[in-house]
Amino acid sequence: MEQQTAIRMQNITKNFGQVLANHNVSIDIRKGEILSLLGENGSGKTTLMNMLSGIYYPDAGKIYVNGEAVSIRSPEDAFACGIGMIHQHFKLIDVFTAAENVVLGLHGKDANLKNAVSRIRDICEKYGFEMDPSQKVYNMSVSQKQTLEIIKVLYRGADILILDEPTAVLTPQETEHLFQVIRNMKKAGKAVVIITHKLHEVLSVSDRVAILRRGEYIDTVATADATVQSLAEMMVGKKITLNIERPPVQNPKKCIEVKGLTVESQDGVRLLDDISFTANSGEILGIAGISGCGQKELLESIAGLQKVSAGTSILYTAPDTEVSVELVGKNPKQIREMGISLSFVPEDRLGMGLVGAMGMTDNMMLKNYRRGRTPFAERGEPRKLAEKIREELEVATPGINVPVRRLSGGNVQKVLVGREIAAAPTVLMTAYAVRGLDIHTSYTIYHLLNEQKKAGVAVIYVGEDLDVLLELCDRILVLCAGHVNGILDGASATKEEIGMLMTHLQKEGSSDAK
C-alpha cells in the first residue's frame, strides 16, 4: 500500500515563558502506520501532540492535514481534522455510562443514545475492544477507561490517533491487548502516534520512531533498524550503559517484620489478608502484582498512614541497637519521633508526596519542618538541600522556588526521591518509582536505590515492570488479590513464574511464604 502523509508538522515552535518546549520541530505522520514519539522527560512530546489536539497553539510553524494547511484552535477543530488524542489523565464523567460519555458534547444524530450504542458495538467489533456501552465509568478499571477514551475518539471519526503514555498504567497483558487493537487500527488505514518511555514497546509495536531531545527534533528512524541501545543513545545524545547491577547482599538483618497484616476497606472488603514477610537491611525486596491488589495499602500500613485490622503486627528493628518496636497504631509523626527514619515515595507524587504549589525548598521541609525549638520554620537548610538535589540529580527547573507542579513528570519524581533519600533512611519504600520516567532517569533511580542498599538500607520496591524487578531485586514478593502468593529469589525466578503468581491465587497454605 502506498503510504500517504496524514499530518505534516513543519518548523513548529512553542514556548512557555522562558521554556522552549519545542523548537523548529518537523515530523510526518503517515496513514496506516504506527509512529512512536520518543524523548526524555520534558523533551516536549506532550506539548507537540497537544498542538495537534487543539490544547495549545504553536508560536510558529505550520500544520498540514492531508496536505492542506490547517489551524487547530480547539479540540473541536482537531476532531474536524480527524485528530483524536487520548491523554494521560482521562476526561470521563464517573456517574455516566460508557455510551453517555461517548456522546457527551455531540449534537444531532451523533448524540442519539440508541444510535450510539449500536455504533459503539460496531467499533468494538471492528477493532477488537471489549466494552459494555451501559457500564458506568466508576465501575471501570483503568484499562477499561482507556478503552472508552479510544472509542470516544473513534466515534468522533478520528483517523489519526495520538496516545500519550497509554501503557504507563497498564499491566503487561493489558498492554499486549492494547497493541493488538492499535495494530488493527493500522490495518484499517488509520495513523497512530504513541508516546511511551518503554523502549521494548517501541520496538514491538511501531513502524517508525521519531526522537525529540530538549525540544529539538533529532531524527526519525525505521523501527526495524533500531535497537534499545541505539534509541536510548539518540534520546540522551551520548553513550549510556543500560544494565542494572545487583550488588550482593551484605550482612542482611531483619529490619521490618510484618505479621498477619490485614486491611479492610470502609465497606468491609479485605484489601490485604493476613500478609506476613520480612524486609532486611541491605536488601531490595521487590513487590509484584497487578494494579490494585494491595500494594498501596501495604506500603501505607508500614508508613503509618493506613488503618489496619486487629492482630496485625509490624515490628521495626533498629539496625544499630537491634531494639524492636511496634509500628502499628503510630502515625508518621510518632514514627519519626521514635527516631525511625522511614522514607516513602508514594505513587501519587503531587497528591501525597509533594505539595504541587510549593517550590523545591518548601517541599524539602515537608517532613522535618518541626526541627528547631523556635516557632519559626527554618528555611536555610532546606534551601541548601534543594540546591544540592537540583545539582546532583540534574533536576530541570527554572528555579528552586518554582512550584514543583510546573516541572515535568521525571523532574517531579527526582525531587521526591531526592528528598526521601536525603533523609538518610533505614527503610526506603518506593511505589512505582519510575512510572512515567524516561529510560535515562529510570536508570538513575535504580542506581540510587542500589546505593541505598549498599549503605545498609532496607529497600522495598513496588514495581510493575517484571524485567526490572528481576534484574534489581534480591527477593520478590508477589501479591495477588491481597494475599502473599509467593516470595521468590530475584536471581533465579522467571518472568513466567511471577506472571503466573500475579494472576492465579495459590490454594490457602500451599504458598511457601518465608
Binding site: 515563558g17 490547517v70 489551524s71 477543530d77 471519526g157 508508613a303 519519626r336 497528591g351 510549593m358 520554620a377
Partner: protein, 375 residues
C-alpha cells in the same frame, strides 16, 4: 459525521486566530503594580464616561466630591481610617482560614459575639474593675467568644467532615439572634430597642486617646496584627502547616500533620482575631452594640482577603480602597441627589478593572501576526 467534518475543514482554511492567550512567567513586582495602577486610572476614565452619560454632571466634580467624602476634613479622614482598620482586621482574621482553604464565611458572626462579650464586660464590669483589668477581661473574653464561634465549625469538620461554608454561614444567624436578645436585655432607654452609648459618663471601657487622637489605638492594634499575621503565615511552622493542609490534606497526613488539629487551631486564631474586631468596634469606636455592629464587613472582608491573595500587608491598601469607595459613594449620593445605585456603579466599575488587571498580570495576549506574511 463525515460530511460535517468536511464542511468544517473546508471552512477552516489556514487562518491564525486573531489573538491567543499564554501564561506569563512571574512578572517584576514593580511592573505588576504599574499595571494595577493603570487599571485604576482606566476605571476612573470609564466611570467618568458613565457618570457623564447618565447624569450629565462633570465627572471631575463627582470625583472631587468622592475624595471630599473620604478625606474632606480631619474628622472624615479619621472615620475613613477607623473603618479601614475595622475591615482590615476582619481580613486579617480570614487570611489564615482561607489560606488553609477553609471557607470561613462566618466572620460576621464572630465579630458580633466578640462585640457582645465586650459590651457585656463594659456594662457589668465597667464600674467594678480598674481600667487595665477591664481591658484585659474585654480582650480575653472577646477573643474567646470569637474563637469559640470559629472553632465549632472546624471541630465538626475535623470530626464528621461537615461542610464549613454552610456551617460558618449559619453560625452568623445564631450570632445575630443572640445579639438581638442582648439588645433587648440591655436596651437603654427602656423601650427604645437600642442599647445606646454604654458608660457615656464614666467612659469605662472606652479606648483612650493616644497621641491625642481618638482612633490611634485602633490603628496601632490592627497594624500590629497585620504584621504579626504576615509573619505567622510566612515564617512560622504553623504557617507552613496551614499552607500544606490548604494545598493537599493527603500530603499533610503523609507529612505527619494532624489535619483536624490544624483546622481547629487555625480557626481558633481566625475566630479570635474576628472577635477582637468586635472588641475594637464596640470599645474603640461605636461604644454600643447592635446587630449592625459588623455591618456586612464580615462579607466585604472576603473580597479583601481574596484580592490580596491572603497577604495581610496588601490587604491594607485594598481595605483602604474599598472604604474610600464606600465613603465617596455615600458623599456623592447625598451631595448630588444621586441615589446609591449611581455610586455603586462606580464602585463596581473600579473593582472590575482591578480584578481584571490580574488577568493581564498572569497572562499575555499574542496578537495575530501580519496575515499576508502567513499566507
Amino acid at each position: 459525521m463525515q460530511s460535517k467534518a468536511e464542511t468544517i475543514s473546508a471552512k477552516k482554511k489556514y487562518r491564525e486566530p486573531l489573538a491567543r492567550i499564554a501564561k506569563r512567567d512571574a512578572m517584576p513586582v514593580l511592573l505588576s503594580w504599574g499595571i494595577r495602577a493603570a487599571a485604576v486610572l482606566l476605571s476612573l476614565i470609564v466611570s467618568a464616561v458613565v457618570i457623564y452619560s447618565i447624569t450629565t454632571m462633570n465627572p471631575l466634580k463627582v470625583y472631587g466630591a468622592m475624595f471630599e467624602g473620604a478625606f474632606g476634613s480631619q474628622r472624615k479622614i479619621w472615620i475613613t481610617v477607623r473603618d479601614t482598620m475595622s475591615l482590615l482586621c476582619i481580613g486579617i482574621a480570614l487570611a489564615p482560614a482561607f489560606k488553609m482553604r477553609f471557607w470561613n464565611i462566618g466572620a460576621e458572626g464572630q465579630v458580633l459575639v466578640g462585640g457582645i462579650a465586650t459590651a457585656a464586660c463594659m456594662i457589668y464590669l465597667g464600674d467594678v474593675l480598674p481600667t487595665y483589668a477591664l481591658f484585659i477581661v474585654m480582650i480575653v473574653s472577646s477573643c474567646l467568644a470569637g474563637a469559640l464561634w470559629g472553632a465549632i465549625p472546624a471541630l465538626f469538620k475535623s470530626r464528621w467532615g461537615t461542610n464549613e461554608t454552610l456551617f460558618t454561614l449559619m453560625m452568623n444567624y445564631v450570632a445575630i439572634q443572640i445579639t438581638s436578645y442582648c439588645v433587648a436585655l440591655w436596651e437603654n432607654p427602656y423601650g427604645s430597642n437600642y442599647v445606646g452609648i454604654i458608660n457615656p459618663r464614666t467612659k469605662a471601657g472606652w479606648f483612650p486617646e493616644v497621641f491625642g487622637k481618638q482612633y490611634m489605638l485602633n490603628v496601632i492594634i490592627v497594624l500590629t496584627l497585620a504584621v504579626g499575621m504576615f509573619i505567622y503565615l510566612r515564617s512560622t511552622k504553623h504557617g507552613y502547616e496551614i499552607s500544606v493542609v490548604g494545598q493537599s490534606e493527603n500530603t499533610a497526613r503523609y507529612a505527619g500533620i494532624n489535619v483536624g488539629k490544624v483546622f481547629v487551631r487555625t480557626m481558633l486564631i481566625s475566630g479570635a482575631v474576628a472577635g477582637l474586631t468586635g472588641f475594637i468596634a464596640v470599645s474603640g469606636s461605636s461604644h454600643t452594640i447592635s446587630v449592625n455592629t459588623a455591618g456586612g464587613r464580615g462579607f466585604t472582608a472576603i473580597i479583601v482577603a481574596w484580592m490580596a491573595k491572603f497577604n495581610t500587608l496588601t490587604m491594607m491598601l485594598i481595605s483602604l480602597l474599598l472604604i474610600f469607595l464606600e465613603k465617596g459613594a455615600n458623599e456623592i449620593a447625598s451631595n448630588f441627589g444621586l441615589n446609591d445605585f449611581a455610586s455603586q456603579i462606580i464602585t463596581g466599575i473600579i473593582l472590575f478593572f482591578i480584578i481584571g488587571s490580574e488577568f493581564f498580570i498572569n497572562y499575555r495576549i499574542i496578537w495575530r501576526k501580519k496575515i499576508r506574511e502567513a499566507v
